[in-house]
């Protein structure tokens, strides 16, 4: 609301100023270097302030969790912890880090992420490469088969029934297979392959390389950027996923860490077996949850700078075609 008002104020003043200056200054560069109108300055400041507020509000929940993870239960329970830890304590960290279930689940998350990403990459790359060939007979049918699933899916129950009857319950396959191909990723990769110069592949074919040879020796080495992007897309999605595991895994030894956290949030478990004395389990729940959240976020935060860059270029690639 405030923004709208500022902008309107800008309109009036700016029009006056620019009407005066426009005849003499005929390029934008000149205008920029000349005195900026007061309205414009007000707008810029308001814009800056607004964006700083956005930054703060976005960061706040993370900082709050971090503060809570280091605070003692008394202060959390009194509703006093916000940006900084009160009653500094690292006991909960020690408690969780000593919990073997936590580590086993963490290990599962790593395993599922690696296996699922590998499977996804093999399937996505091979399909994308084939359907990127404009003269492949049946190509449009293949594309149609994939794209239709973006807009219509079987739904929760039939999927559940299927996975169960395939005997995948309580196995890794229930987590890594059902969502192996993301059609969105597939289409990004396809448009990347389509934009590769054809001459390269034709030259390689004349040199006697088979289509496999072309893919492995020519195309993939030139596609490192897109492959890296796709690996990150899939890896982040798999690292964060929980619902497949929640549906199909009953054995706590197989849980990924997201389920460990989910059960904690839902109050099904209290950290490990050692969740403090019985009478204040509810009280320290917030503290334990925060610690678990922090420990789960850390790997994501470590790769985030790279991920973010690749994600942006990946999305750019995907949007180029439209």
């Amino acid at each position: 609301m405030v923004k709208g008002a500022t902008v309107k104020g800008t309109t009036v003043k700016e029009t006056a100023v620019q009407e005066a200056t426009a005849p003499t200054a005929d390029t934008g560069v000149l205008l920029k270097d000349m005195k900026v109108s007061r309205g414009m300055r007000v707008f810029r400041v308001a814009n800056l302030v607004f964006l700083l507020v956005v930054v703060f509000l976005t960061m706040y929940p993370f900082l709050n969790i971090l503060a809570q993870s280091f605070s003692s239960e008394g202060f959390i329970n009194a509703g006093q912890v916000n940006l900084f830890p009160l009653g500094f304590n690292t006991q909960t960290y020690q408690l969780i880090l000593a919990d073997s279930v936590f580590w086993r689940n963490y290990g599962n998350t790593v395993l599922y992420t690696v296996v699922a990403t590998a499977i996804s990459m093999v399937l996505t790359t091979s399909f994308a490469y084939a359907i990127a060939k404009k003269d492949l007979k049946g190509r449009s049918v293949f594309i149609g088969i994939a794209v239709f699933t973006m807009f219509f899916n079987g739904g929760l129950i039939p999927n559940y029934v299927l996975i169960t009857s395939l005997g995948m319950r309580d196995t890794l396959w229930a987590v890594v297979l059902p969502n192996a191909i993301s059609v969105f990723n597939l289409l990004i990769m396809k448009s990347f392959f389509e934009n590769m110069p054809r001459e390269l592949e034709e030259a390689a074919a004349i040199d006697g390389l088979t289509q496999y040879g072309v893919l492995f020796k020519v195309v993939l080495p030139l596609s490192k950027a897109i492959v890296a992007t796709m690996v990150l897309f899939y890896a982040v999605a798999n690292w964060n996923s929980w619902f497949q595991a929640f549906l199909y895994l009953d054995n706590p030894d197989l849980f990924p860490v997201t389920i460990y956290l989910r059960n904690m949030i839902a109050g099904v478990t209290t950290a490990g077996s050692a969740g403090g004395t019985a009478e204040n389990v509810g009280q320290i729940a917030a503290n334990i949850q925060s610690v678990t959240i922090v420990l789960t976020i850390i790997p994501i935060l470590c790769v985030y700078p790279f991920v973010q860059k690749y994600f942006f270029s990946g999305v750019m690639l995907g949007s180029v075609k439209e």
Binding site: T10, T11, E14, Q18, E19, A22, D26, T27, G28, M40, R44, L51, V55, T58, M59, P61, N64, I65, A78, Q80, L123, S126, F127, A130, K133, L136, K137, G138, F142, I145, T149, F152, N153, G154, G155, L156, I157, P158, N159, Y160, V161, L162, L177, P178, I181, A205, I206, T210, Q211, Y212, N240, L261, R262, I265, S290, I293, T296, F311, F312, S319
Partner: protein, 326 residues
């Protein structure tokens, strides 16, 4: 092996560029296509099997909405029961409550979560310091990379009795509210967290579109005396209009599936009245109470509405705006 190696050079010489597509589109061209491209077809096999098993089989599995289903029996059910389950949910008040909640949350999401990224992208675009812009973007994208479980944990903590929102409420109004359990507060809680989560990342496609706006258009506008606001209105917005429409269609397409995983994590029986949506209702009916056929009937209804929505949104935008997904 040796024989197969001969094939590609042959194919290359018999198909000079230019006349490439013609022979293969003839009926009966399959033989030739397979002979020439069999390696490509082998690449397609596994992914096609994936789609068949994990995407199309469940679609067919929806027949259990019209059939009696026995857990452990055939995934396509045992015998036809006609519209039994459809009439069952049509007469189920809980279903209609979930239906209503879905519509309301969907509309609120479109109303609040759809425009925010556009505004955010435009504001970022006004920044002159590229470094600061990068910094804001980096921070704003962060929630997108968090697991929904973590997001849910943060929501529940921030809105808890001792959380930040209540700390503020206590300071400003002198009272606290049990946000996470009060049905009246579910929607504000859901929508505000949704905006928090999606605003930054949602801007990314608009920012991508903004980089492609022709700089000379702004220059022309400035020469015509347009101020910044008018430039935004007459140059920037029309330039990103196709992106806006594309994303709007996609958003309408996912309208029915509103935040299933998130709601499942943050709702509780005390706020079902406003928080229970079709997907969570069918989850409870199907997987917690094991009424598979009943839940499948609801799920099918949901999918069909979703498909209808996206098809009509696409058709409408094709006619009115000339932009469409296909």
């Amino acid at each position: 092996m040796a024989m197969r190696l001969e094939v590609p050079p042959e194919a290359v010489t018999t198909n000079p560029p230019g006349s490439k597509d013609k022979p293969r589109n003839k009926p009966g061209g399959w033989k030739l296509a397979i002979k020439r491209d069999w390696r490509l077809y082998t690449l397609v096999l596994l992914p096609l099997a994936y789609f068949a098993i994990f995407r199309y089989l469940p679609m067919a599995g929806n027949v259990i909405a019209f059939r009696q289903f026995q857990p452990g029996g055939s995934i396509f059910g045992e015998k036809w029961v006609g519209l039994k389950y459809v009439t069952l949910f049509i007469n189920d008040p809980s279903f209609w409550q979930a239906f209503q909640n879905t519509i309301i949350l969907g509309v609120l999401t479109l109303l609040f979560c759809f425009p925010m990224p556009i505004i955010f992208a435009l504001m970022l675009n006004e920044l002159r310091s590229q470094k600061f812009k990068k910094f804001v973007q980096t921070v704003a994208y962060l929630p997108h990379f968090m697991s929904v479980v973590i997001i849910a944990g943060m929501i529940l903590q921030n809105f808890s009795m001792t959380g930040t929102v209540n700390q503020i409420a206590n300071t400003v109004f002198g009272t606290t509210v049990n946000f996470t359990q009060d049905a009246a507060w579910f929607r504000p809680m859901y929508i505000s967290s949704e905006v928090w989560q999606t605003m930054g990342w949602g801007a990314i496609l608009y920012l991508a579109a903004l980089t492609k706006v022709d700089e000379s258009l702004y220059e022309a506008a400035r020469i015509d005396g347009a101020n910044r606001w008018q430039q935004t209105w007459h140059v920037t917005l029309p330039a990103i209009r196709p992106t806006i429409i594309t994303l709007l269609i996609l958003n309408i397409g996912t309208f029915m599936a509103v935040g299933f995983e998130k709601i499942l994590l943050i709702y509780n029986p005390l706020n079902y009245q406003t928080s229970d949506v079709i997907s969570t209702y069918l989850y409870r009916v199907g997987l917690e109470s094991s009424n598979f056929s009943y839940a499948a009937a609801i799920g099918m209804f949901e999918s069909v509405i979703g498909l209808t929505l996206i098809l009509s949104a696409n058709a409408i935008s094709k006619r009115l705006a000339g932009t469409s997904l296909w």
